[in-house]
């Protein structure tokens, strides 16, 4: 251990996406010091990939008139299939509008309302009132009663992240990029910071703080086909789970996006359907109205994704070398619209598939997209189990999304939660003292040091980490996908257990010196398999269907037995998570029919 | 900020250099174009050429113009010259970069620098020669051309017009008055035309009977 590599601060923020940076700004505004860590330069965080938009009930545009946080709340609760924490959802919906305005104040160039009549691609004519001219506009997104998704052309996440980061720079907040947190330092009661590996040199650093925040984003890359960035490996969740004391919530709730482009799995944003795109089958038939006459292509994500798979299973999929898929058709929106409002999509189609969406159909298939589950926290963002540990953003299970997140609600979550939780962290931190002992730091440091040495020496075995990863991905893709059954889930759990044991016997093939990428991955991998087991095992145990968790053998939602949240713990030395359940907080709306999807599944 | 940068920081100097670069560059292009058209009146016959030369001298236009050109020539040498990669290391980087990048506009610039250096030498010789042999007249010029300066001009015409053409293009590009691509095509056409006219003029000089 090297004292030059020890950094002490008030708040250690692991993750420089929107959630982490928003927390940092709030903390700085309260006069506290913080250090942000990130695997990559902050502006490359996956938040920048969000194209579609951010929900907030402003009600400025014609199709958003009459919107309010109440309606947003109803949509969110319904979307979550009553799995969310309604107190959190209420707080969130009430705060979202001012959060959007604040981002505007800080510099986000939100698209604005242009007064006057316009014709929508559906043929409907709307009239934007001059009274709202120049206010923040919104677009249509799945699962929402009003047009509520604020956007900047097709780069909402990008402009949000750049603006947020500009403020971080302005405020002089310390940013250490290319630094990977590899272990939380704790004594079973308090979290004291983290052991961090430098991805430039491979050296280990120690970060000590009064509070530590996990804002590390999602775990999409556990799945082979995911829209997520390749760094989204759920490392924050693994860090928390590894403590043995902090539980993960609702890990089985995995969202699949209806339109990942085959075969690169790059997301074609919901904006394409929001702006009027259709889904077609192999006969070029627009099938969504057959299943969902009301919302059609714009029903909530889980429903659309499931309908697509259902349709493929009924034999209407298009054959291809990469498996069956369907078509997304946006040709009728016109070249001009596609090349301006949907330019990113047009570029993606051209660069990655060599097709022109103004002329060609886009091959799409449901693809892993979002992790509703994560580090379980209370409404203040404090993780269960360890004092001084917080989580925020996609890494957390604050529980705004329950079993299904609405598109546009997660960008909003990162910012709204960052604001609210940031305040709470500041309060906590102001009253807390630096608590650590040399011995504890040394132990945690030694633990990682030993792991690194063993991986390099190959003392525990010679398993190939990349081969193991392929197997993990396959198991999740095949057995823990959109449609789930007990038999398949059991198979996944058994296989993953085996992979987990083998992951403890990885040996490097390179010398592991410096910032060796194989070593980085090998250090991370066992934690990833633990997450995979939480997902598979949680899904196996939950014998009902709710939101994105769909059991073919239990196709109904079962509020009698399962109106609860899964908590997954990983006791030391275990090979399976220990599952506990806690009730869901229902304050305003009692469980009911969602008004889309289930109604027809049930009958 | 480093001390040496702090104490020499003067944002206006850069600005004036930039303005001077623009004016001197454009002025030289205008001059060069007029100059070659003027010299090319030899195609219409030595009388026209002489009449023009005398006409200009009568109002001292020639002298004023000549002084301005010399000032502009050296001003340009100084301001544009500051962009020339002078150190050996810089030279190495630029050549390597241009070869790797295979980018036409970057190569165009590399050759502009080279042609600029060539013009510095050739242009200075030329101006010297012309000045020490004034006044200008068709016969005198033709004599020079036939006495061996033909090859000198055959080199100078394309060098200077390549340099002027690319320079003009880059000025338009930098100030963004017009979109790049059309400006590029127009300048290429004009440059080639002028080089052609200049070559015909040289030919005309060669045809002239000098006594």
């Amino acid at each position: 251990m090297n004292s030059n590599n020890t950094h002490i601060t008030d708040v250690l923020i692991i993750g420089a996406g929107l959630a982490g940076e928003r927390v940092a700004i709030e903390v700085a505004n309260h006069g506290l010091k913080s250090i942000i860590l990130s695997l990559i330069p902050p502006r490359r965080s996956h938040s920048t990939a969000a194209q579609g938009g951010m929900q907030a009930a402003l009600g400025n545009c014609a199709m958003g008139q009459g919107d309010s946080p109440d309606i947003h709340f109803q949509d969110t609760v319904k979307g979550s299939d009553w799995g969310c924490d309604q107190e959190v959802a209420r707080l969130f919906c009430d705060t979202a509008p001012s959060a959007v305005r604040q981002m505007s104040h800080w510099g986000v160039p939100w698209n604005r309302v242009v007064a006057g009549k316009k014709r929508l691609s559906t043929g409907q004519v709307v009239n934007d009132d001059p009274e709202y001219d120049g206010l923040i506009s919104a677009r249509d997104f799945g699962g929402t009663a009003k047009w509520r998704t604020c956007f900047t052309a097709d780069g909402t996440g990008h402009t949000l992240q750049y603006t947020m980061d500009s403020l971080v720079i302005k405020l002089g907040i310390t940013m250490h990029d290319r630094m990977e947190a590899v272990r939380l330092i704790h004594d079973g009661d308090h979290c004291m910071g983290a052991i961090v590996r430098c991805l430039r040199t491979g050296e280990l650093h120690t970060y000590l703080a009064k509070s530590t925040v996990l804002a590390t984003g999602g775990y999409g890359r556990l799945y082979g086909a995911s829209t997520n960035a390749i760094i989204n490996e759920g490392s924050g969740m693994s860090l928390a789970l590894e403590t043995g004391i902090v539980p993960l919530g609702n890990m089985e709730a995995v969202q699949f996006h209806p339109t990942g482009m085959v075969p690169v799995w790059i997301l074609i944003t919901e904006g394409a359907r929001g702006d009027g795109g259709y889904l077609l089958d192999k006969n070029r038939h627009r099938f969504m109205p057959d299943y969902e006459p009301g919302k059609k292509e714009l029903a909530s994500r889980d429903v659309v994704a499931r309908r697509m798979m259902q349709h493929i299973r009924q034999g209407y999929g298009v054959d291809s070398a990469y498996g069956q898929h369907l078509w997304l058709d946006i040709r009728h929106l016109g070249e001009k619209h596609i090349n301006t409002n949907l330019r990113e999509i047009a570029n993606i189609c051209r660069s990655f598939a060599g097709i022109d969406p103004a002329k060609d159909l886009i091959p799409v298939r449901p693809t892993q997209h979002y992790s509703m589950g994560g580090v379980r926290t209370n409404i203040d963002g404090a993780a269960y189990g360890l004092k001084g540990l917080f989580a925020c953003g996609e890494a957390a299970c604050w529980d705004l999304h329950g079993f299904n997140r609405l598109g546009g609600n997660s960008l909003a979550e990162t910012i709204v939660a960052g604001l609210i939780i940031g305040k709470k962290i500041a309060e906590y931190t102001s009253g807390a003292a630096q608590k650590y002992t040399y011995q504890i730091i040394k132990d945690h440091h030694a633990n990682i040091d030993q792991k690194i040495k063993d991986l390099i020496s190959g003392k525990d075995g010679q398993e190939n980490v990349y081969a193991l990863r392929d197997q993990m991905e396959q198991n999740l893709m095949e057995y823990v996908g959109i449609f789930r059954t007990a038999a398949e889930l059991q198979k996944a759990v058994d296989n993953l257990k085996d992979i987990y044991y083998r992951s403890l016997k990885i040996g490097l093939r390179s010398d592991g010196s410096g910032a060796n990428p194989e070593l980085s991955f090998a250090l991370r991998f066992p934690g990833m398999v633990r997450l995979a087991l939480c997902i598979a095992y949680g899904a196996l145990e939950r014998t009902e269907s709710r939101g994105s968790h769909y059991r073919e053998d239990y196709p109904r939602r079962d509020d009698q037995n399962w109106l609860n949240r899964t908590l997954a713990y990983w006791p030391a030395g275990a090979d399976l998570p220990e599952l506990k359940y806690e009730p869901v907080k229902i304050t305003e709306i009692q469980p009911d029919d969602r008004g889309y999807g289930e109604a027809s599944v049930r009958s | 900020m480093k001390l040496q940068h702090l104490l020499t920081k003067d944002s206006k100097t850069e600005f004036y250099y930039e303005v001077l670069e623009l004016i001197a560059g454009l002025f030289l292009v205008v001059f060069l174009t007029l100059h070659i058209l003027f010299v090319s009146t030899i195609i219409l016959g030595p009388d026209v050429f002489d009449a023009l030369a005398q006409g200009m001298d009568a109002y001292h236009l020639g002298t004023i113009f000549k002084s301005l050109v010399i000032v502009a020539f050296f001003a340009h040498f100084i301001v544009a010259g500051r962009r020339i990669p002078t150190r050996v290391r810089e030279q190495g980087i630029v050549w390597r970069h241009a070869k790797l990048l295979r980018h036409p506009n970057t190569w165009a610039w590399v050759f502009q620098v080279i042609t600029g250096m060539a013009i510095l030498v050739l242009g200075a010789i030329h101006i010297w020669v012309v000045f020490t042999n004034s006044p200008t007249g068709a016969m005198g010029s033709a004599m020079r051309v036939q006495a061996g300066y033909l090859w000198f001009y055959i080199a100078l015409i394309p060098l200077s017009f390549y340099h002027a053409g690319v320079g003009l293009y880059r000025q338009f590009v930098k100030w963004g008055w017009f979109p790049r691509k059309p400006v590029g095509y127009i300048i290429i056409v004009i440059t080639l035309t002028i080089i052609a006219i200049g070559s015909v003029a040289l030919w005309a000089f060669m045809q002239l009977e000098v006594s």
Partner: protein, 242 residues
């Protein structure tokens, strides 16, 4: 389609082991349909040399991590299809930026420095009031700002610019475009003089020689020529005033 066998010549160097001189190492890869350099590099790392360093994050040309010299030209490796390349492919890290190792360079630190130097944030005296409606803005203005803000900080424009290659502290097209983004933003209260201080110099607008490699090679196809010229013209006007 009979697939080719591609040969990748890859630059190898570890700045933390300067005693090993940089060298080029070659790898063969069987080409697959729809293969990108991203796919090929990962294949090489997973099957041939697990120590090789390169950066990818989004693999969808959104994040700007993966720019490198592909056969000499700066490009995003994630969106470069091998089918558009010859059989022999040379990969080198971007010049100008600090080398981290092999194909990985520190564009992040460079751009952070740029943001600091150009003070790339909205300068305003107004405090945010959560109770009040947002300030109105013309939608076209919003779109214009976005047009400049689309830059993903990949560094292709910097690496391709000869000026930036020889002039240590030149901010290049990305830097000048960044300033343009704030200049057109009505929320930014900086005066002309302040802007002139920031960008009216050889490090900024006046350093550019109009080489246009930036404009030709920006993977986001930002209208860099027009942005550079816009700032230069603004500076011309301001230069006479301030």
């Amino acid at each position: 389609m009979s697939n080719r066998t591609l040969t990748f010549n890859i630059f190898r160097f570890d700045p933390y082991r300067p005693e090993v001189a940089p060298y080029m190492q070659s790898f063969s890869v069987e080409e697959l349909d729809g293969m990108t350099v991203f796919v090929a590099l990962n294949k090489i790392r997973e099957t041939e040399d697990t120590a090789i360093k390169f950066d990818f994050v989004c693999r969808a040309s959104i994040c700007g991590s993966c720019a490198m010299l592909i056969n000499g030209r700066p490009q995003l490796a994630c969106k470069t299809l091998t089918r558009n390349l010859p059989k022999k492919i040379t990969l080198m890290p971007l010049p100008v930026f600090k080398l981290i190792g092999d194909l990985s360079v520190d564009t992040g630190a460079w751009f952070r420095h740029l943001s600091l130097k150009t003070k790339s944030w909205i300068h305003t005296d107004k405090a945010f009031d959560p109770q009040v409606l947002e300030e109105r803005m013309d939608n076209q203005t919003a779109l214009d700002i976005y047009e400049a803000e689309r830059c993903i900080e990949c560094g292709c424009c910097i690496a391709s610019c000869a000026t930036a290659n020889i002039m240590e502290d030149f901010w290049g097209a990305a830097g000048i475009n960044r300033v343009a983004r704030f200049m057109i933003d009505p929320r930014d209260g900086r005066s002309g003089k302040e802007y002139f201080e920031v960008i009216g110099s050889e490090q900024g607008a006046f350093g550019c020689m109009g080489l246009m490699a930036c404009d030709d090679l920006c993977p986001m196809e930002l209208p860099l020529q027009m942005q550079l010229a816009f700032v230069r013209r603004k500076m011309l006007g301001l230069g006479f005033k301030v």
